[in-house]
Symmetry: C2
Subunit: 87 residues, 2 copies
Amino acid sequence: MYIILVYDVGEKRVAKMLRLCRQYLNWIQNSVFEGEITDSKLKELLHKAKKIMDRQEDSIIVFKSREQKWLEKDIIGQEKNKLDTFL
Amino acid sequence: MYIILVYDVGEKRVAKMLRLCRQYLNWIQNSVFEGEITDSKLKELLHKAKKIMDRQEDSIIVFKSREQKWLEKDIIGQEKNKLDTFL
């Protein structure tokens, strides 16, 4: 499935969360990631993220789309992370 | 259509961008918005956003899904903006 993941975590936890999410997804901007991922890998990612998070303060939102083609993406202005650098 | 909009703009422009996006979409976290919107209203929003942005520095990404039901949403931790406050 294709997902968009956004997190809103305390300053002290941002670096750790960024490093974790980068292992599974493509960073696109601020605290926003996207990418193809399996159910089990997403469970693994979220399991690790919950250990980093302060569940009383922080938040992660995952938007899941069964297929990337169901999600049209438009970028206005600067593309902060040229995805093609990963291809 | 249902969209997720994320922006990454310079500190001086954040407040203006937040106010603009709130007129069209639901704020959910950090610089992330979601909501149902028509083609023409999205064009209107982006037209206004381009006037606020510094196109050399800032970025807006819009993920479009033809229908909300094609996008499953999971929230881990705190829901920063209880959508039901708008219903």
